[in-house]
Symmetry: C2
Subunit: 293 residues, 2 copies
């Protein structure tokens, strides 16, 4: 067990409220005044989640998009964000990117905190949303027999990252400025049996959905929509940062948005995940081993 997994296990004793969903979902869901409040918090750390030379405007955009993607996976409409900001050398560029992202998603900044510190700098964002469908989808509802679907593609952020790293000049937008599929998430919420966003790698995230739902997921790798050269397909399944929506639908049901059927849910077998018929017996190497609750 990683140090992080051990730490999160020790937090679970403090998270017994049903709103916390056992710290095993993309977001907390708090019932208040007849509404379902959806809450998520993600951090980005210099040298871990972004390079010191990254454009602060891109970092700000990504901070917003990753959090809104968690809301998308719950079919939630964003109400606002709170920012935890560490002052640096090019704060005006950060504000510019933050403004771009908030305008793109039409989400207001509600508050937060500004501190000095670093390097490494770290930023936190809390996104607050309103569930548009009840129950608010979770990772835990997939049923044996359901189809497994993906809205969005995998691979583009990996290619963008490599273009930046290698200075090839190829397009890196998908890595720098990911898109949270908010309207797709809202359209899907009333239909899905389970849903999550793909942030840490499709295979690792599918593993988590399978574990939460206590089913096995069988994935047909060739069916996964790829935004990368075919030779990179198996890398793309593990790379992450895609912010696609992974969801299950009862057999025979078609999704209301463009999506690809990439496999199906089966009764829990001896592995939570089967890739092209082969069991995947542990989560090592499936993706980014940090939890992105």
């Amino acid at each position: 067990m990683t140090r992080e997994a051990h730490f999160i296990d020790s937090l679970r004793a403090l998270a017994s409220d049903p709103a916390a969903r056992g710290l095993r979902d993309d977001a907390a869901v708090l019932e208040l005044g007849g509404e379902a409040l959806v809450l998520t918090h993600d951090m980005l750390v210099e040298g871990v989640h972004f390079l010191p030379e990254a454009d602060p405007a891109d970092v700000a955009w990504k901070l917003v998009a990753t959090n809104l993607s968690d809301l998308a996976a719950k079919g939630a409409e964003p109400l606002g964000v709170l920012l935890g900001f560490m002052l640096g050398d090019d704060d005006a560029r950060f504000v510019e990117g933050l403004g771009d992202a908030l305008a793109h998603y039409r989400v207001p900044l509600l508050g937060g905190d500004t501190v000095s510190g670093g390097p490494p700098r770290s930023f936190g964002l809390t996104a607050v949303g309103r569930g548009t469908h009840r129950p608010v989808p979770s990772r835990a509802g997939a049923q044996a027999g359901d189809g497994l679907w993906l809205c969005g593609t995998v691979g583009a952020p990996m290619m963008g990252f490599e273009a930046l790293r290698d200075g090839t000049g190829a397009d890196s937008t998908a890595y720098r400025r990911p898109i949270a599929l908010l309207s797709e998430g809202r359209a899907l919420a009333p239909r899905v049996t389970a849903m999550m966003d793909v942030s840490d790698g499709l295979l690792l995230d599918a593993w988590r959905l399978a574990e939460a739902s206590e089913v096995s997921l069988a994935i047909d790798s060739a069916a996964v929509p790829l935004a990368a050269p075919e030779a990179r397909r198996f890398d793309a399944l593990r790379w992450g940062d895609d912010y696609a929506l992974l969801f299950t639908l009862p057999a025979g049901l078609a999704p209301p948005v463009p999506a690809s059927r990439i496999g199906k849910a089966e009764p829990l077998g001896f592995a939570p995940l089967f890739l092209d018929g082969e069991p995947v017996v542990n989560a090592e190497g499936l993706g980014w081993q940090h939890e992105a609750d």
Copy 2:
């Protein structure tokens, strides 16, 4: 203008939603489903807000208490917190202190994010609460003629910090484990014209309340309840970390909780603050010059 003040000014354009209260209050107040949701986010950074040798359990406690103090200032009942955590060497102690604080206030952990990074390590906490009285008190409602009151004392955290720094063995609890005055805030909310918590120094925070309310505040230093030697009175007025509640009440009204009348609100004069009759014409040196929205 400090770099931080400049940054926060540039954020205001993104915070035009009334829920953000112009980034000039202790918390955001979002109307949802007939409830007033109160949201705040504070960060603690190693080397800035706590010493590297601090007990992680105390850091966790303080992170919870500072955020809940913002809810107290709005008369809000806490519903839960989200934690942004950076892994370190003694995470079990952090979880212990977090558990102590959450149990003390009976607040559940709802979610968050765990990352690697640092040193310096940084932690963020988002606290979510429910306003118990409408309108939710702000810093902006003080009227000329109101009494200025303080619930709690100043100076104890300063003395505790110095005891730790100097290794005197004197009690440092008030510095390490501050108390958020939640029940006092709830009792006061229906009566006050303005309220905030004292986090950055009584004089600086009073300056901010005066500016937000567009009044002058006249403070009688001798009336401020002191938890420090008399010789340190003027230091204690500037030190901060007290988490007392500063509020205004219409003249003649007495508070429903133990509190001291430390001055009064007057029509806006040529300074926002008068201390023992002397105008204070700028905020330099009044307290910690970081904003704790």
